[in-house]
């Protein structure tokens, strides 16, 4: 609490983000240890978790007060006007401190207490077991085995303790290879396709420089190749643009020299590095946040940001990797979570939206294959929310070693049981679990399939979204159907009891017959109107908050309002949008 000087400011204005005529709501701003809260005159609450704040900016004083712009990692952007500059300054300073904690121990996850006891907490952490995941894939088997080489994190700090490697790869080969790889990340198994006996392995770039080679590394790749006996060739996909890989040689890193590796084909797929991705997203958000945006500016901005181009590149390259479970592929294998998401105050260059990109790729798949995924969009958005919320321990720390050192499993809670508890919200009502058609998805990556993910990047800009959600209605209806099935069973058994009581000896055949009478349709439809049980959430069907003011049509007519220059000040536009 030492950072908080002012806890409550009245008469604060919240500006409409897209209005060119400075429309606003007036209310009260509260600052708590974990959240910033705004309650407007209609008692509507806006909560902002401190950890979600990517940047806070104080703009130049205006006649109506001191503007404070807060950009969040979950793409919420709020623009307050605080009447007195002093208050604004206090809040600004507090938020700066609170949003950038210097120590892990100050993160919300370490104070968050969801009323779970220790065994529940432990269960939560055990929900996803990597060994179990590999078993599901059919590993270990005659080609792949568990290696204990990294048991003490001696070979590679950023890998987990348990790794799967080719059975014929000996420990000296592994150790040798790891010395030849950036940060010791030697090739390990990521995904095993049982039917085709094909494997996906993953490693970091070799420290080849211009000419260095490593026999152990060559042996290890040879072993990997042999562990995939069905395939004559092994492909090595380098996810970087070739130019980047070549440039890295000067730093003693680089890429494999084809001459030294037999039966291996190399391919560069051109996914840009984190710095390019970061600035790409930044540009995208600048464009989509422009007031009075025209269609042409939107599309030329979309193009020049390059964001969808990167998404397509990732999809093109990793078309089936996207199916791999989040826990396995991202958390256990050292995606540098803390740094990439900017939880702690550190090097801003290490912050990048790679995980956001992964979620977006999955979303694109769900758009093309609406029945192939058990989860829905809300699930993806919720995960994204918690990557930054620091409320749960899952996404803290940069690798398993660091996570163990932080004692996350004892001190924080796992997100997954909470998502599981709420799973009704995250289930896809159209999911077709019975069909095997979706074992391998073959997404179409023609450019026109890629769309701007409005529900992610404008998730807090209510006015941009459809006012009726087909998805919610179908989801509720699905739930209702389950309830109705139960009701029918109950009713049938009650009726049966009554009949038995009444007839006491009449043939059961007749009874069965009369329980399900063929009723005239006219009557049923009447009943349907008479009595609607458990109404499908009516609120969802009403047109929530659709108003012309929200949509600012008149701002598009010059005569209605003398529109002021619709520019976002550059300072504000290029703001330090981190993740």
């Amino acid at each position: 609490m030492e950072h908080i000087r002012t806890t409550k400011v009245e008469q604060v204005k919240l500006l409409d983000r897209f209005s060119t005529s400075n429309k606003s709501l007036t209310g009260t701003l509260y600052l708590t240890a974990t959240h910033l809260l705004f309650i407007d005159s209609h008692q509507k609450e806006t909560w902002i978790l401190h950890h979600h704040i990517a940047s806070v900016e104080k703009l130049a004083l205006t006649t109506s007060g001191c503007p404070l712009v807060i950009q969040c990692k979950n793409f919420r952007i709020v623009h307050f006007i605080v009447p007195r500059e002093r208050d604004c300054h206090d809040i600004y300073n507090s938020l700066l401190q609170l949003s950038k904690q210097a120590k892990y121990e100050d993160l919300y996850a370490f104070s968050y207490n969801p009323k779970q006891n220790d065994s529940e907490r432990l269960q939560g952490w055990q929900l996803i077991d990597l060994a179990e995941e590999y078993k599901r894939m059919g590993v270990p088997n005659s080609h792949w085995q568990l290696s204990d080489a990294n048991r003490e994190y001696k070979i590679c700090e950023t890998y987990p303790r348990e790794l799967y490697v080719p059975r014929i790869a000996s420990k000296p080969i592994i150790v040798g290879s790891s010395k030849f790889r950036s940060k010791g990340r030697f090739p390990v198994l990521s995904y095993y396709h049982q039917d085709k006996e094909a494997a996906i392995c993953r490693c970091s770039q070799p420290l080849s420089g211009f000419s260095a080679r490593c026999l152990e590394d060559e042996h290890l790749l040879q072993a990997v190749s042999k562990a995939n006996p069905v395939n004559r060739y092994m492909y090595v996909m380098d996810t970087r643009p070739k130019l980047n890989a070549m440039a890295n040689r000067a730093a003693g890193k680089g890429y494999e020299n084809e001459d030294n590796y037999s039966n291996i084909r190399f391919q560069f797929v051109g996914i840009e590095n984190i710095h390019v991705m970061r600035s790409s997203l930044q540009k995208l958000l600048e464009v989509s946040g422009t007031k009075g945006l025209s269609v042409n500016d939107f599309y030329s901005g979309l193009e020049s940001s390059g964001w969808l181009r990167h998404i397509k590149a990732v999809m093109d390259a990793a078309i089936f990797l996207a199916k791999v479970l989040i826990e396995k592929d991202w958390i256990s294998f050292g995606h540098k979570f803390s740094e990439r998401c900017g939880h702690l105050d550190g090097d801003p260059k290490e912050v990048s939206p790679v995980f956001t990109q992964f979620l977006e790729c999955v979303w694109h798949l769900t758009e093309q294959f609406p029945q192939a995924f058990e989860f829905n969009e809300a699930f993806l958005l919720q995960i994204h929310e918690h990557i930054h919320s620091c409320q749960f321990g899952n996404f803290l720390g940069n690798c398993q070693k660091e996570r163990e050192e932080l004692k996350l499993k004892e001190k924080t809670y796992s997100l997954w049981p909470f998502l599981l508890e709420d799973q009704k919200k995250y289930l896809n009502p159209l999911y077709s679990f019975k069909s095997q058609r979706f074992t391998v998805l073959e997404p179409n990556t023609v450019s026109f399939n890629f769309k701007f993910w409005r529900n992610m990047y404008h998730q807090f800009d209510r006015t941009l979204h459809p006012r009726q959600s087909v998805f919610n209605i179908i989801m509720n209806m699905n739930e209702q159907n389950k309830q109705l099935q139960k009701d029918i069973q109950d009713l049938e058994s009650k009726i049966k009891r009554h009949k038995n009581k009444q007839t006491d000896g009449i043939l059961t055949k007749e009874l069965v017959h009369s329980v399900c009478p063929e009723s005239p349709t006219l009557k049923t439809s009447l009943c349907f109107k008479e009595q609607t049980l458990l109404p499908v959430n009516d609120a969802l069907r009403t047109i929530e908050g659709s108003s012309p003011a929200d949509n600012r049509y008149s701002e598009y007519a010059e005569e209605f309002s003398k529109s002021e220059p619709a520019v976002v000040s550059l300072e504000y536009g290029v703001a330090r949008m981190t993740c």
Partner: protein, 549 residues
Amino acid sequence: MEFAELIKTPRVDNVVLHRPFYPAVEGTLCLTGHHLILSSRQDNTEELWLLHSNIDAIDKRFVGSLGTIIIKCKDFRIIQLDIPGMEECLNIASSIEALSTLDSITLMYPFFYRPMFEVIEDGWHSFLPEQEFELYSSATSEWRLSYVNKEFAVCPSYPPIVIVPKSVDDEALRKVATFRHGGRFPVLSYYHKKNGMVIMRSGQPLTGTNGRRCKEDEKLINATLRAGKRGYIIDTRSLNVAQQARAKGGGFEQEAHYPQWRRIHKSIERYHILQESLIKFVEACNEQTHNMDRWLSKLEASNWLTHIKEILTTACLAAQCIDREGASVLIHGTEGIDSTLQVTSLAQIILEPRSRTIRGFEALTEREWLQAGHPFQQRCAQSAYCNSKQKWEAPVFLLFLDCVWQILRQFPCSFEFNEHFLIMLFEHAYASQFGTFLGNNESERCKLKLQQKTMSLWSWVNRPNELSKFTNPLFEANNLVIWPSVAPQSLQLWEGIFLRWNRTSKYLDEAYEEMVNIIEYNKELQAKVNILRRQLAELETEDGMQESP
């Protein structure tokens, strides 16, 4: 008959048909007066049955003696026919070309089509102006039907019956007609029952450079205002364009002469600009190999979504004037037959729940497009693959349908019809067996005797069998005004029209079916629960009677 002369080779064997997402099929190609038919000989099924009038353009090329004809349709589909024999191929190509560009309307298929279905309700009489007016007359007595245009003499593009203010007589209407472009004097387009405000539409006033005025015109539109109230004139042209129009005898309402009206200029494009936009847009959608940057820049350069946004914004603005400002609106551009109708009809979609039902939308199409004199024959003569560049060809109606689709996307439960209904209307506006979209206005349709000689589209659509395909399973009547978002982030590419032939929709269709199943199952369960409840209640009362002394 005439067609025989045009068909040099009526039949070719061993023709191979290539279509998107279907395996190639070999069969016999037949040309009739109105159709191109390909049937595979194996099971005698027709693989292709294409109206000549649906053909927008054809390309031919030869490799040795194997000819290939690429047929580009007005519904954006592209198919390919491989025809053995150079002579056959050339004959077929020239026949198709001739048959798809027949000059005379009376040679078109609707005049030859004999329906195979039973007509339950004759669509030609489904939406009579008198009936439409009755819907208003219960709410207001300030308006009347006028038969001043009975012989199409006052305004050739108006129907014989129009709705005008009661206080203005036919003589005044005749005078006003001489002051408005094409004789299109202001008429009622929509009456907002909630507050009595109205949308009127007309052609531009013919003020010319010397600022001509017309007292009757001023009187007519002022008659629609309540005492002390102001109205809005929405000119669908930019101020600049409107000013330029004066040089050609057109113009706009001067403040001095219309002090009770406030004029707003919007800028909705017309004619070839729209056609070129469509051509570019379809071209971009048809190219599978564009990289992301190229795709986005093509999308942008086509300007299609810009037009959508501009039209929607103007319609929303008109609706806002009516519903929120409580002011009446007069809408016009130059002629009042293109952008004007887009705006008046979309404003009604926003304001009027009835126009979001199937019948209501049909009535709207009939009233605000067909009877209001949108020249379908001219505008829909060619589509995205044409090279003719005629000024009068423009996808005005398709833009309207796209705007409706955008609103439908945003309010998916507020419309009784689904996307297929809109696609069907698009198809029939460009090529059809029905007479509904033939001709440019009521006057031409009368002369063609369409009612007697052709079948109405509505006769076919409004049969339960067809309706079931066009009904939105999520529909729940919603009596509110619906305000769509017009932000670029909210507007989408209409995949059902523009990507329809460019990618498979199998998974999306299956998901849609699953959704319908869930809804149907829900109804079934509800019905069953209700029956069981009643049964139980009966048993309980019987029990009660038995147990009671």
